[in-house]
Symmetry: D2
Subunit: 355 residues, 4 copies
């Protein structure tokens, strides 16, 4: 209701600031009797972790997760599952100089207008560090989905004007930008490195694909699966847009081109094309779900920028600290997590109407 | 929860099928003592109504709304406000020939897979006719917002490859495509007419702008204002994508280009640019909120299309009935309605944290 | 959220005032493919209807229900199910004399303080007439439960100081107070008749029993089944208390008396006693659920009573109109409805955690 | 939704098992800029703590709370507020002998039937230790309410057949049973001591009074204030009933006796009596809210009891461990907490409908 909870029956509630003592999450609605321990979650946390390479922030965090409840003797009990990740590399000094200054592109100003206060410690709650909780919860959701044959993969398809051309999912974790195109990945990394050297940052596009999703997920009218996914993904900081299937290109198409004709593929009803991106009328078709999100260039750049203070004085700001020159590589696991949370929820809701 | 309710404290619950007895809506959380009567709502219903021109469906519906509760002596009481719109021009015969056939691009197949049944009467609940309830509720939301100086305007900016070049809001209701560019509107209409003559349909893009929105609306983490708006808008049937501010173009920008620098505009803190589209860190900045949605070409086209039946036989379908060759003109008021519902909710939620 | 919606996945949203055009309900989450038509609902509406006897209000309403959506060709579709009941016997003149006077025991004063307005037409939204919507929704819930072997029965066990001594469920619908004790029913009716003649009213106690409820329903911590049932039932106007199993008597018992010892009843684990009333730790045991609610004497009495006006003048009020001298007979079906709504919801939620 | 969250805009989500690493809570919707630090919360935790006297469990826990987020520089920020309390005195050995045995009166059996597993460590999630999270959250709610002049006090009014006769709130914290009657407290304590010596336990009744609650809180139909309070309180383990104002006695009253007549108390509209217990039509009147809850005798008793195992063998159980012979003294702060959470939520929701 007040923004820190996601989901309807697989409900995720998160907390934590970038430089507070900890971030964490409670998941309500985890099915009982699922094998689960910290390593199941740590894998994705490590993918999201800063300090992985020059392409990401140099903050040093081990991001070790501790399960506090909901698991007993290696299995989920069905009760509230809580996880905590202690912050270690807190450097308040990095931020004290900007405590009264609104950083361009950041939420400093809007939080101040909303709450009448300022948590200047690296953005506080607005920091990307809150996504740790999403990834931790998402790791459990992904595990549940995998056991049902549903796999989610996300990958960078553009950094600036460099676009991927192939889709080789086996290479995603073998390049620093998490692209599915090794050759493009190389040029993307150059683009990022160039931005970093220029004290600048660069945007990009991430695509995600869900394979094995059964038909019938999603709810009519307001809780269409694409609407829930849009909500889930657009809640990730730094996203500017989302599209499904043909996306914005659909606007230039004719109905006769765009309609996916059904045919019998053996005993299975399938569409010949998948322009719809796996969702029709808000409900999954059983085809791959395909979506793309636009990622803005990181707001924290090491250049001097004009801005104002909370006392309404003009000033310039020089953001120090340790920042990602491109958000894409580290948002990839967050995208997967949010899709997983949405799908697990839809899957569980679907059970309520079937015998 | 199960999809027919939208909102957290200004809660809208809808019902109704395209060719059932009625569509309607209950709004829970309407503030008391607001002047309200049917004409306040009828205006937007008329904008959404079919049969307005050749550019829209020829179904004849008066779409007259009746308020059933929540209003007494011309004022809202604060209790549940219900509205009903009886369907009049039901033509089941238009649909009986397709009752076992899955129309390409429609939700027939996915509803069948979800629910194990088929309401073949023009899509049943999946019909665009459900948006009547949204527009009725949205009219009340817009009235509440207008009294606070918040105005929402939506307009078609592209039909196929024809793009608007100007933004003259005064002409929107004076052309059949609801464009803010009279000259482009003419060419858009030609595009639609051409599609209609070819038994085809065409997609488009709608832009919306909110003026006068105060800063501070939206909630951190999952209920970011852009996430809530994405959820709201992507729940409209036929949308393929949404973007805010610079949108997908942000992916190609550098941080130094994209960041909106703050400056003092007299006594007011403002950004020099509005690349963020009025929302920063998920919270409104006070600048205009700007977003765009991609509308797919109408799925119902009068061409013969290959498809299959629910008995898994290949067949061809010839959709008769009365359909819009381009959805944009009639989606425009729905877009406004969904934005209004989202903003009223955010406005009311914001009150809970202030004294 | 704002009070007119009940349930989590079987969600019921209601509207309507006592003397407005109609009352109604939308149910979101009705399972698809359930046989359903108006007569399934009418039966319980008739049990709740006024004008059944001298023991109830003389208002003449046929209370005919119309299904507006969610049912097609005699089966539920799984989409939002809406029902409407038009009010017929509206007599505003009965109320015009009291439009500025706060009736003792009624919600006139508190609604005025909450909303700053007054719907004086028989209590408006606060009228017991809103329970029509509950009973209509409950009839569907009861049907779903019956098909799973779960039966709910409620009956008056006390009117004033007259208490039932036997539990013969076959006689409940054969006496006007809906008691399960024919002999007591006679004396209860005398008590009611005596109150009516004295221009007075009388309270009572209703008991309800659920037979066939499976074990495992209810959720730990806040959504314990008894907590959800308490919420459901105490939301019925005029109730002053609720208790489960041994209820308030448990306060005087020792643990050694109160604990229900488990034993093997053939192959089944069962408790020897059912002091817990079928719910242990907030979760159903599989034994009969037993609860009782205290019903206050009807607030509308035909005696002259001291009170004040909204202009803060002292006055006396003489309530005319047509009122029930004892609420119990007509609350019985409402109690059943609210239990049914709670159990269907719990049953559906339980499915989300099982495979 | 799945039971571990309470509240609509002041939302409390809890986790933790009796003998797991920690219990904790996230509160979403805490108003910003409220002074808050650990000592504000510790006071009520200490009141609930075991080991206070012979009348309570001898488990040794310091129950020290740590605030993990949502507070910065001594003030709430408005973002998710998380608190954690590490468990220290975990003695799994106390429970290993009963790991397959269903304790009479406990949730062991029902959790097993619900989830298909058994967390035998002192009841796991079903332990009364989960109320720590409620009390921690309630302490913040109480602080918010106190600043608005709303005070909540709860006190034991009966232990077994010993009933309090006076209401002297100043003595509540000065006797071990938390009664408002020093003389009765002495006899209550004797009753508890007697039960303890007999390896038995005893039930009781707790009354709560809210002073200073403004009129207008609570929502019509399902979210009546008494319904929300019943839900809140009946979710506390071990409660068997709840009543408001005249409660079950109302069943024996006449309308002419029960109706609270309004009169002008100076410039203020007030009822001459408060039989309604401060809530009329589900909305607060502004008078004291008065309610009572029935507490069952503690299920854990040191006597040998017949029961069965999860393998369906008959057995006897001898519960060791450290248990409260009467739950009342330690439930008192939990009752206050749940009332506070309900009222803060109602207060915040009421703001959404006013300007």
């Amino acid at each position: 209701m007040s923004g820190n909870t996601f989901g309807q029956v697989f409900k995720v509630t998160t907390y934590g600031e970038s430089h507070g003592p900890a971030v964490g999450v409670i998941i309500d609605g985890v099915p009982p009797n699922l094998s689960l321990s910290e390593p199941d979650i740590q894998f994705d946390l490590d993918r999201r972790r800063p300090g992985q390479s020059k392409a990401t922030s140099q903050r040093q965090e081990s991001d070790e997760v501790e399960i506090l409840s909901g698991v007993f003797e290696g299995k989920t009990t069905g009760t509230a599952l809580a996880m905590i990740i202690r912050n270690k590399d807190q450097r308040l000094s990095d931020y004290s100089s900007i405590k009264d200054v609104f950083r361009p592109g950041h939420a400093d100003y809007t939080y101040f207008m909303k709450y009448g206060n300022r948590d200047y410690r690296g953005g506080g709650r607005a920091s990307g560090r809150e996504t740790l909780s999403r990834v931790a919860a998402g790791a459990i959701a992904k595990k549940i989905l995998r056991e049902k044959g549903i796999n989610i993969v996300a990958y960078t398809i553009a950094v600036g004007d460099v676009r991927a051309k192939t889709k080789d999912f086996t290479v995603i974790e073998r390049n620093l930008v998490r692209a599915a195109d090794m050759e493009a990945a190389k040029r993307m990394l150059e683009k990022i490195e160039e931005a970093r050297k220029n004290c600048d940052s660069v945007g990009g596009v991430i695509e995600a694909l869900v394979h094995g999703c059964p038909s019938g997920l999603g709810d009519p009218v307001f809780d269409k699966l694409n609407a829930r996914l849009s909500y889930a993904l657009m809640s990730i900081g730094g996203l500017r847009g989302i599209e499904f299937g043909t996306g914005f290109k659909a606007a230039e198409m004719l109905g006769s081109q765009h309609n996916d004709r059904f045919f019998m593929d053996g005993d299975k009803i399938r569409p010949r094309t998948n322009h719809a991106g796996g969702i029709l009328g808000g409900i999954s078709t059983g085809e791959d779900i395909i979506l793309r999100v636009a990622v803005k260039p990181t707001s924290s750049i090491a250049q001097s920028q004009q801005t104002v203070t909370s006392e309404k004085k003009s000033t310039t700001i020089d953001i120090k600290g340790r920042h990602d020159p491109c958000l894409c590589p580290r948002i990839v696991p967050v995208v997967e997590a949010m899709i997983a949370l949405t799908l697990v929820d839809a899957l569980m809701l679907q059970k309520t109407i079937t015998d």
